[in-house]
Amino acid sequence: MIEPVSTILLCVGGFFYFAGTLGLLRFPDVYNRLHALAKADNLGLGCILLGLAIQEQTLAEALKLLLIWPLALAASASVSYAIARRADVLGIKPWRDGGGE
């Protein structure tokens, strides 16, 4: 039972990472890219950590893995915010559909 659930979680996590990377490469401006990275990668990381944690033998090991998630969430949210604020200070205008490059 644990094996297939873990596999599904890992695959879902991998898919979110793929989607986030696709967004990083294809989205038009820095704000959109941050959005794609922060949202998709955080969800991907959560799925992968959960998938790995349920395979662990001991509860302590599983909790250690799961502890990575809130730390990464806090770091990624703050860093995304710092980058976006810096971009705003530098005068980078958010992209609008139809507004051209």
Partner: protein
């Protein structure tokens, strides 16, 4: 080809690629980001080589602290418009020198004689007398504690040189910092206590698994840098008496233990097996605090609040 082999090859290719891109990047901004990426890939490489001690140190010092220092230096360069592109002749000379060095090093590497002495059995055989059960810590603090003592001295000297070269900065006016950004300050408040706990854990874990004073110190230093960057604490100006003792204390503690052992045991840093564990923990605790302050000082003494963000 196995999956692991494929991953290793991919990792090696990524290392070469990011290294090359860091060197050939059009602007410093891009080059620095790629250099930090290179450091993180290097961490993976060390982890794949089952050298978690080096991976930890590389992550904290190589990618983290060095990256922050380089970015900080780049900020100063950009603000002051110092330096500039090197001339064609200079660049050609540097490239020629680097290529010749590589050409000399490759045959030298292929020609390496097998080590005359395999130290691993000796390390393993004497592990129970070393006071710790992790061979890397045993080597660093006990078997060749002399080397580590000198390494700490070198780091301390580097910071003293930095303080001397920086000058007294009498012209620098202390400007009150802008109030910290609430979101970043929040990150600092959440992350720093966790980092302190991680540092203590690494220090304690060093006795029986990867970890130890250097890694713990790097995490402490990173916490101090984070406190500064999130706007919670100002940069350091002149070291007061307390900070001076903190910076030098680890080295003097190590030296003091060495001298006492010289008087009692008749040899510098020969730990008596009964007290080795306790003495190593004492030395490592001192080193963690001092090295953390030294590594943080490399960043914080150079950071000027009045430079403008």
């Amino acid at each position: 080809m196995s999956l692991e082999m494929a991953f290793d090859l991919f990792l090696a290719a990524s290392l070469l690629w990011s290294g090359w891109r860091a060197l050939s990047a059009p602007d410093l901004d891009c080059a620095l980001t790629l250099f930090i990426t290179f450091g993180l890939l290097m961490v993976l490489a060390w982890a794949r080589l089952t050298a978690p001690d080096i991976a930890l140190a590389e992550a904290a010092i190589g990618a983290g602290l060095t990256g922050a220092l380089l970015l900080d230096a780049y900020g100063v360069l950009r603000a002051g418009k110092v330096g500039g592109q090197a001339g064609k002749f200079t660049r050609l000379t540097v490239v020629l020198a680097a290529v010749s060095l590589v050409l000399i090093l490759i045959p030298a590497l292929a020609d390496l004689a097998p080590p005359a002495l395999d130290m691993r059995p000796l390390v393993e055989a004497n592990l129970q007398d070393s006071g710790v059960t992790h061979p890397v810590t045993a080597v660093l603090l006990n078997y060749r504690g002399y080397d580590t003592l000198l390494e700490v001295g070198v780091l301390l000297l580097a910071l003293v040189a930095l303080l001397a070269a920086r000058g007294t900065e009498s012209g620098m006016v202390s400007v009150p910092r802008p109030s910290p950004d609430p979101l970043l300050a929040m990150l600092g408040r959440v992350a720093v206590p966790v980092m302190v706990v991680v540092a203590v854990y690494l220090l304690w874990a060093g006795a029986f698994r990867p970890g130890g004073a250097f890694q713990a110190a790097a995490v402490l230093a990173a916490a101090a840098v984070l406190l500064h960057l999130t706007g919670l604490r100002p940069g350091w100006r002149q070291p007061g008496a307390g900070l001076r003792w903190g910076l030098a204390g680890g080295f003097f503690l190590f030296l003091g233990v060495g001298v006492i052992l010289l008087l009692v045991e008749g040899e510098l840093l020969r730990f008596p097996p009964d007290y080795a564990g306790l003495l190593i923990l004492l030395v490592e605790s001192g080193l963690t605090l001092s090295l953390g302050l030294i590594l943080a000082g490399l960043f914080l003494f150079l950071s000027h609040d009045n430079r403008g963000a």
